[in-house]
């Protein structure tokens, strides 16, 4: 029998990162947390629109699509941020134990695993938010007073998306540090409200959340400031970079 020729196995060094990202992204999208989050947002959008439409049609009140969209984003995000916190804070700690063993004992480094998890959770949250925003924008444009500016809508969605990105990055970092998902959720919750309250005492240092909300209707109408949007984006990038570097460094040095 002729011997089979020796085959040189080509190793793709970034394939493990993509594998974790894709597998986790798929699992998040199939999980109840993400589906509940998107479902709640869509339900709230529908109910809120019906209410505004009723007030518009029955009582003759003028309902601006920009106000509808701002209120919707504000209340839906405030109400469902808990599910985003669960998604972020459970990224790594929920797999700790034998499931993480069977992944981290293969040819993947801790850094790649961390980045794969972070990017999949970030992608899932932003995809969900952008999807809901898109549907809400279209519905508002059709059923309410058409005062929306397309570019303004995109920038407003980007602005809130950046805040969500910062939240997810902090959550994934906590998830890599803490062993328990519930503790991670609790700490992130405290960080979200406690940290926000503390940061509001130092005006000018970081973008203030209430100012972001207040100017959101104007951004949606097209009266936006690129400098303010740039500040938000920069703030989010800085938070994401610092938390990712810290999370990766810590996770690379700890036991799983």
């Amino acid at each position: 029998m002729a011997e089979s020729p020796a085959v040189n196995v080509v190793i793709n060094r970034w394939l493990p990162y993509w594998a974790v990202l894709q597998a986790d992204f798929g699992q998040v999208l199939c999980g109840w947390v993400w589906r509940a989050w998107v479902g709640v947002c869509l339900l709230a959008t529908g109910c809120w629109l019906v209410y505004r439409l009723g007030a518009h049609r029955e009582a003759g009140l003028v309902q601006e699509a920009s106000t509808f969209l701002t209120d919707l984003v504000r209340w839906v995000l405030m109400g469902s941020v808990g599910l985003v916190v669960i998604l972020a804070a459970g990224a790594i700690s929920s797999e700790r134990g034998t499931l993480a063993d069977s992944i981290l004992s293969r040819g993947i480094s801790r850094r790649q695993y961390y980045l794969g998890k972070f990017h999949s959770r970030l992608g899932a949250v932003l995809c969900g938010f952008f999807l809901v925003s898109l549907i809400a924008t279209i519905l508002g444009q059709f059923f309410l007073k058409e005062d929306l500016d397309l570019k303004g809508c995109m920038l407003a969605t980007w602005e809130v998306g950046m805040l969500l990105a910062a939240l997810v990055s902090i959550g994934v970092m906590l998830s890599s540090i803490l062993n328990n998902t519930l503790v991670g959720i609790m700490v992130l919750w405290f960080a979200l409200y406690g940290g926000g309250a503390i940061l509001s005492l130092v005006p000018g240092l970081v973008p203030q959340l209430h100012l972001v909300w207040n100017r959101l209707p104007y951004v949606i109408k097209g009266h936006y400031s690129l400098v303010a949007l740039g500040e938000i984006t920069l703030f989010s990038l800085v938070v994401c970079t610092i938390t990712s570097l810290f999370g990766m460094a810590y996770f690379s040095r700890r036991d799983v």
């Binding site: 011997e3 089979s4 085959v7 196995v9 080509v10 190793i11 793709n12 060094r13 970034w14 394939l15 493990p16 993509w18 594998a19 974790v20 597998a23 699992q27 199939c30 134990g97 034998t98 499931l99 063993d101 069977s102 992944i103 981290l104 004992s105 293969r106 040819g107 993947i108 480094s109 801790r110 850094r111 790649q112 690379s252 040095r253 700890r254 036991d255 799983v256």
Partner: protein, 359 residues
């Protein structure tokens, strides 16, 4: 049923050829695994592993023995980089293992205790995921995973969700996972745990086959499995390695002073034999029960004199010998003796040199 034998006879897996064997011989000097004073203390509250030094040459099949909590799993997790040592180091193929040593782990196949699988995956998607974690391209991983699924007998269940698998099927999938990267070194943590006799037999046959071409460390509670598969053994007791060497040497250390002798003859002759044996210096104690003598000799390591005395006494009393056998499973007895000696050593353990021999 010996379906798993196909794993190492599959065309997609390297069968040792004369050329490869030569290469192995050339690299004989290179250690596959080396640990030096490996110590793990969890949260400053629990000493899981204490000063473990080990050297493993290619082709060794090492059985890790120890009671629950002895440190077997901790040792395996340290050498694969899942845990960071508190002190000491572990080198695999000459390089220090760290949590980020992805290149080193590409040469290792690992089965954890009670392997868990992600929900909603089938054997095909799971093995594909694992192969991608090793960075294997599509052209390499697809034929391999197909061969492995066939070899471990999961072809009929290749599209079923893993959540519905039995223990035996999960174990087969874990085996396939540990071989997907064609590793040179295998760490299997209690691979026969929870398996039925048939699946266990298949697993042991597979280990024997793989042991001819690869270096394997098997951790197991079942000493019979170790006895059957391994050529070397390391014994851990309360986090410390109390023995590391060949299995034959371990058995050589066991006490061989306990024997059972089946007899045939009249009761008077047997009673005479009993009193004669009690009067000799070789026999520590002797008991008679339904024409079966239970003997304990004084010399724990060499029972030849004791057996010779028994034979002479049998001849003198005209009692027929039906059978004679040593009592106790050999490896199990040796293991228990080692642990017992370690337990009774007390403070003397402080001065005892830990075993640092090449397995």
């Amino acid at each position: 049923m010996r379906i798993w034998v196909g794993v190492y006879s599959s065309p997609h897996f390297r069968i040792p050829t004369p050329v490869m064997e030569a290469k192995v011989a050339e690299k004989k000097a290179e250690l596959v695994l080396e640990t030096n004073q490996l110590t793990k203390i969890y949260q400053n509250s629990q000493i899981a592993l204490n000063d473990v030094s080990l050297k493993l040459e290619p082709g060794t099949v090492l059985g890790l023995l120890g009671a629950n909590g002895a440190g077997k799993t901790t040792l395996l997790r340290l050498v694969i980089g899942l845990h960071r040592p508190t002190a000491g180091w572990a080198k695999v193929f000459g390089e220090v293992m760290t949590p980020n040593s992805a290149d080193l782990r590409r040469k290792i196949g690992y089965i954890p205790t009670n392997p868990q699988f992600p929900k909603g995956m089938t054997p095909i998607t799971y093995l594909d995921y694992m192969a991608r974690l090793f960075g294997l391209s599509r052209d390499t991983r697809k034929p391999r995973l197909a061969s492995l699924i066939r070899a471990v007998g999961l072809l009929g269940a290749s599209g079923d969700p893993i959540d519905t698998f039995s223990n035996g099927m999960s174990a087969r999938l874990a085996v396939a996972t540990s071989l997907i990267n064609e590793p040179d070194l295998l760490f299997w943590d209690e691979p026969t745990h929870g398996l039925d006799p048939e699946a266990r037999r298949s697993m042991l046959d597979l280990m024997k086959g793989l042991g001819q071409a690869k270096t394997i460390i098997v951790s197991s509670h079942n000493l019979g499995d170790i006895d059957e598969v391994c050529n070397h053994a390391a014994v851990l007791s309360r986090g410390q390695m109390i023995y590391c060497g060949s299995l034959q040497d371990l058995k050589g250390r066991m006490r061989r002073n306990h024997y059972e002798v089946d007899l045939e003859g009249d009761q008077r002759s047997i009673t005479k034999l009993l009193s004669m044996l009690r009067g000799t210096g070789e026999v520590r104690s002797v008991e008679l029960q339904h024409r079966k003598l239970t003997l304990y000799f004084n010399d724990e390591l060499n029972s030849a004199n004791g057996i010779a005395t028994v034979m002479m006494a049998l001849n003198e009393c005209k009692v027929t010998l039906v059978g004679i056998r040593s009592v106790g499973q050999q490896t199990e007895q040796a293991f228990l003796d080692l642990v017992e000696k370690d337990e009774t050593a007390g403070f003397a353990r402080i001065y005892k040199q830990p075993p640092k021999m090449a397995a």
